[in-house]
């Protein structure tokens, strides 16, 4: 599909799109040594935060830490650009704690651009990717709308909300990728021609107001943490001046405004047809679905240092602008607030992700990968995680190497991708900790320990970076052993200390590890309970080691249970199903299982077991047939497409 006269450039990997997925994909590919081009509609709009300028949150913060542990950029970039940072869920256990940072959106874009331009082998190309060059179910390159042809071995689609995008405010709608930006009108046709399915989703953003026109006195002040935090494992956190957020609540008056104008909502008029996310409901939807709720929270958050604009979290709406103004003015603290940018909805094409393998490669087109909102997700963190994985796999594909896949027991990233490609989506997908069955193991505090050796093997983590992680692991192991052998005596003094802490005295000398397992005992308490050389050794433990020791003690039994569970599933999780496996010929599978499996074509038996409608009995039968198949072949054939996944042993 290309004219001979066109100018031509050749790359290993091309990334289409310069959002959070596209940037990570391009950086990972280039850092792995692949000649990489990132094609974006406008090179001033790189790593934009068109919705809330915040990174992290419960579930999402874990993803950002994992991206960092694998050598991605999001964590580091958020560390550079944040203007407020908080640890969430501090009253709850370490497994569900996470960081959330409010970023200066311009700083975030600028720093990302710096990182991109400093990466050797990465070229930024401005233009609209118009037509994919696909022949024999393989990607060859892409033609831009201006006629240039870029050849490649792998291509990553990270087009966000831009495919045939339509912006909607009230009864008005027009073609735009975001307000004020051109959509990508041509690519969808090319995707359909290549045999891909395309569906519609919608998303929306709240209005922005002038921060100088709010009344902070009528709202609750929300400061950042005074403890310095950082997303990146290799960034030493340092305190900085932070900007506050404010919390206010809608009132009956606000709800009345919404109710009165519901007939003007695009949701009602039907001008938005795609499905939107339940976890990010518009204020219209909240008023409809929860009529008994007296008030809904509204978080007023700064968008940066150099702008006075503030984001109204909780007031997402695409009602007409005059209604948006009335809603804002009916809310305490915002009575005089001046609306600067109206909220709007955007509707766009996405590719239902069941069309992908676990490496984010298209099942229909070899060498074609996709990441981010085009896969039906939402959120900068979900996008970055997929972008990183798609970039890595695009690079591996370009080098004819087996793909890199993370299992559900290794990372939230594994949960994210497995959920997407196995179950598909019926609303834009967002990460929650409750999606991760092994969340006690997949914590944000151990992301580097879990993943950085894998990042190092891929060439994305340096020797020095890995060394710091291994040093910490060595120390934790050393102290773990020490606590097992060190004895705490059951004397009168200790009995009094324990009683004061609300826990019974020891029945006799006990290993320190066992004493620490009592929920009332912290590591600091333990130091008090031993003496002499023992006390000195414990007192000299570094804080990051103490953190791990306390978590180990706290979760001890539960972690052992989860590890046993993981071992139990390991065999099925790692058994690969050939891409051409003929489910219909398998005797003993139920009709429903045959049908679903033939459609979804899972990569592994573990993935097959999570397809709805497939029973454990079906998996048993499949297991036996796969083994029969393996035995008839002289040896399992590695290296063909996704047939040999690159996976590391779980730590």
């Amino acid at each position: 599909m290309r004219a001979k006269t066109q100018q031509e450039w050749t790359y290993d990997v091309i990334v289409v799109g310069g959002g959070h997925a596209g940037c990570e994909a391009a950086l990972a590919s280039a850092r792995m040594g692949c000649r990489t081009a990132m094609v974006a509609l406008h090179l001033d709009n790189i790593a934009l935060m068109p919705c809330n300028p915040a990174i992290g949150g419960v579930g999402k913060g874990q993803l950002t830490r994992e991206v960092d542990a694998l050598g991605g950029e999001q964590g580091r970039n958020a560390d550079r650009a944040f203007i407020q940072i908080r640890m969430l869920n501090t009253s709850k256990g370490p497994a569900v704690q996470a960081l959330r940072a409010q970023a200066d959106k311009r700083l975030y874009e600028d720093w990302m651009k710096v990182a991109m331009s400093r990466t050797p082998g990465l070229e930024l190309v401005q233009g609209e990717a118009a037509t994919l060059d696909v022949s024999r179910e393989t990607i060859n390159g892409v033609t831009l709308a201006d006629g240039r042809y870029l050849r490649c071995r792998s291509l990553v689609l990270a087009t966000g909300t831009f495919l045939r995008a339509k912006v909607v405010i009230g009864d008005r709608s027009y073609a735009a990728g975001r307000v004020g930006e051109l959509p990508a009108q041509h690519l969808s046709a090319s995707l359909l021609a290549a045999g891909l399915e395309v569906e519609r989703f919608q998303s929306a953003t709240p209005p922005r107001i002038d921060g100088a026109t709010i009344d902070p006195g009528r709202m609750v002040l929300q400061q950042g943490d005074t403890v310095p935090w950082s997303f990146s494992h290799w960034q030493t956190p340092s305190p900085r001046r932070q900007l506050p957020c404010y919390l206010t609540y809608t009132t009956a008056a606000t709800h009345e405004v919404v109710s009165k104008h519901l007939h003007l909502s695009p949701l009602k008029s039907g001008s938005v047809s795609g499905k939107g996310p339940r976890y990010c409901p518009s204020i219209d939807r909240k008023v409809i679905n929860f009529p008994d709720k007296q008030r809904h929270p509204v978080f007023v958050e700064p968008e940066g240092i150099t702008t006075r604009e503030m984001y109204l979290q909780g007031l997402t709406t695409s009602l007409p602008v005059f209604v948006q103004e009335m809603i804002i003015h009916a809310t305490p603290g915002l009575e005089r607030a001046r609306l600067v940018r109206p909220g709007y909805a955007v509707e766009y094409d996405y590719l239902p992700p069941q069309q992908l393998t676990l490496s984010l490669q298209s099942k229909a087109v070899s060498g074609l990968f996709s990441a981010g909102q085009i896969n039906g997700t939402s959120g900068y963190e979900e996008a970055a995680a997929q972008g990183l994985m798609a970039g890595i796999n695009a690079a591996l594909h370009a080098r004819n190497e087996p793909p890199f896949v993370l299992r559900r027991d290794q990372a939230y990233i594994g949960v994210l991708i497995d959920d997407l490609v196995t179950e598909g989506v019926d609303e834009p997908y967002r990460m929650f900790t409750s999606r991760a069955e092994y969340r006690l193991l997949l914590r944000h505090d151990n992301a580097a320990e879990r993943l950085s050796s894998l990042g190092h093997a891929l060439g994305l983590i340096s020797d020095e970076q890995l060394a710091t992680v291994e040093e910490k692991q060595r120390k934790v192991a050393e102290y773990t052993e020490l606590l097992e052998s060190m004895m705490v005596r059951s004397g009168q003094v200790n009995a009094e200390v324990l009683e004061a802490l609300g826990t019974p005295p020891l029945g006799g000398s006990q290993p320190a590890a066992r004493v620490l397992r009592r929920p009332q005992i912290s590591f600091a308490n333990l130091v008090e309970l031993v003496s002499g050389a023992d006390r000195d050794r414990l007192a000299s433990a570094p804080p990051e080691v103490i953190e791990q020791l306390e978590i180990q003690a706290r979760y001890d039994g539960y972690i052992r249970r989860q590890m046993a569970e993981i071992r139990r599933h390991r065999a099925t999780e790692t058994l690969l199903i050939p891409a051409d496996f003929d489910y219909r010929s398998v005797e003993g599978l139920t009709f429903e299982a045959k049908d679903k499996l033939a459609r979804i074509r899972p990569d592994t038996l573990g993935q097959a077991s999570r397809v709805s409608g497939v029973s454990p009995a079906d998996i048993s039968v499949l297991l036996i047939h796969l083994h029969r198949l393996l035995r008839t072949r002289e040896e399992p054939a590695p290296g063909s497409g996704d047939q040999a996944l690159r996976q590391a042993q779980c730590t």
Partner: protein
């Protein structure tokens, strides 16, 4: 570079059993010997933990096969459960090519179940239908040409088990399980909403309300677990031991219940030296009646042996009928005997009413007084006054037996009961996990840990009803809470 995955899928080379599975591998209720079979890496260790070899024998690590005589024991109390033969087959020279241990029990179904429970507690997992065969195949034990038939067998066993469980779970029972799971999901959604949306307008977890909710589900699960007793009773019969001091009329009672002469009845104390088993039916439930030698200290050697057996029969019984002689006075031996009984699983039967004055009511009162050790013992015992000679009070006794079997509730046999060992184990697991969650909720354990236990309970129930957890949970959160900014 990271290791390639296919290392794990090389056929024949690695063990497929990552864990150790266990099942009763002989047909329920059939045959005098029952085999409980373990397979997997910890098979030997688990078997050893519940086995006490007879003097001079032990499992030798270097022997491919060994057969040992000894006792199955409760590892905590060190009490013997049954007299067993232990067959150890080392990998790869076993049916599954894993370490396989078979415990051959003699004590009937009750002993097999007890052994199974002990092994589950020691870390084994209940095998899925067809899992031994599946492992045998996966580990290359079975020839390639047999593969198709293995798949067919496993599929048949699995779908057979599924059909059976659907049948068992049909109607109201399955509805009850679904409702319990639904309730747990609701509680879980409350916790998860506070975890995943803590920076939004979700109230902090109300631990008291959570504990209350958990306790309600626990009561429901417990009710269901009680029907497990009836389920088992219907499948396997109720082992009922008749115990008592010599010459109180145990054998006469057995005969009266059977309405025919079976045991040797005589006036000489200690005539029944061995245990005598008989089968009868009460309210549609098969009852295995076991008459035991009278319990008293001393006596000659043969009688001591008989006493030992009757103590064992009593321990293995589902139900104990403790017979006392109303015509004689209370003594300490009787007090000790009655004091050892589990009130929920025993009936004190006052025999020889025919020798006594008074109406039935006053006689029953007299039994009650004797049963409580002259007022000192625990209240709430089931008592019954009968005359084995005249047959007076036997109908009352039958009805009492029926009440014990049905858990003391007004229970209709037509109602669904928890049948099948798999169902009982899973509901038992759910019960245990809810208990752990309750403890956590009260003791201020982290939300993520309480959640973990509730998940375990919901997933155990889900395995019975075939429902998956995560998608349901997320839907539940969104339908209950206005979350999302």
């Amino acid at each position: 570079m990271a290791a390639h995955l296919d290392r794990d899928v090389t056929p024949g080379g690695c063990s497929w059993g990552e864990d150790t599975i266990v099942a009763i591998s002989t047909a329920m209720g059939a045959g005098a010997i029952g085999i409980v079979r373990l397979s997997g890496p910890d098979a030997v260790a688990i078997a050893e933990s519940v086995f006490l070899a007879a003097r001079g024998t032990s499992v030798k690590p270097d022997e491919t096969y060994s057969l040992l005589y000894g006792h199955a024991i409760d590892p905590e109390s060190r009490e013997p459960v049954d007299e067993v033969l232990l067959a150890v087959m080392r990998r790869p020279r076993s049916y599954t090519r894993e370490d396989v241990v078979e415990m051959h029990c003699h004590g009937g179904v009750a002993a097999q179940r007890a052994v199974l429970r002990l092994m589950l507690r020691s870390g084994a997992r209940l095998a899925e239908p067809g899992e031994f065969t599946r492992r045998a195949f996966l580990n290359g034990r079975i020839d390639l040409t047999q593969a198709e038939s293995v798949a067919a067998i496993v599929a048949a066993k699995s779908s057979g088990a599924l059909r059976a469980s659907v049948r068992q779970l049909d109607g109201s029972l399955s509805e009850r399980l679904r409702m319990m799971r639904r309730d747990l999901l609701g509680l879980l959604a409350q916790i998860e909403a506070t975890v995943d949306f803590s920076d939004e307008d979700v109230d902090e977890l109300d631990r008291l309300a959570l504990a209350k909710g958990l306790a309600e589900v626990q009561a429901e699960v417990l009710k269901l677990l009680r029907t497990a007793f009836l389920g088992r009773a219907l499948e396997q019969g109720v082992r009922t031991a008749i115990i008592g001091k010599p010459n109180v009329g145990k054998s006469s009672l057995l005969n009266a219940l059977l309405m025919r002469e079976r045991a040797i009845v005589s006036d000489v104390p200690g005539t029944t030296r061995d245990t005598v088993e008989e089968l009868l039916e009460i309210g549609g439930v098969p009852i295995h009646l076991v008459d035991t030698a009278g319990i008293r200290s001393g006596g000659d050697h043969v009688e001591r042996l008989g006493v030992a057996r009757s103590v064992k029969a009593m321990e293995q019984a589902d139900l104990v009928l403790a017979v006392i002689d109303l015509s004689t006075a209370w003594d300490e031996a009787e007090g000790r005997l009655l004091g050892d009984l589990d009130p929920a699983r025993s009936i004190v039967v006052g025999n020889k009413c025919d020798l006594m004055q008074g109406d039935r009511e006053s006689l029953t009162e007299r039994v009650r007084a004797r049963a409580s050790g002259g007022g000192a013992g625990p209240p709430g015992r089931r008592v019954c006054a009968v005359s084995a000679l005249t047959g007076a009070g036997l109908d009352e006794l039958r009805s009492q037996i029926q009440q014990v079997i049905t858990g003391g509730e007004d229970f209709q046999l037509e109602e669904p009961v928890l049948a099948g060992e798999r169902h009982r184990v899973l509901v038992g697991e759910a019960h245990e996990s809810i208990g752990a969650a309750l403890d956590g909720a009260y003791q201020g354990a982290g939300e993520e840990l309480v959640s973990e236990d509730i998940r375990a309970a919901a997933s155990a129930l889900g395995r019975l009803t075939g429902e998956d957890l995560t998608p349901d949970l997320i839907d539940e959160i969104f339908s209950r809470f206005c979350v999302g900014k």
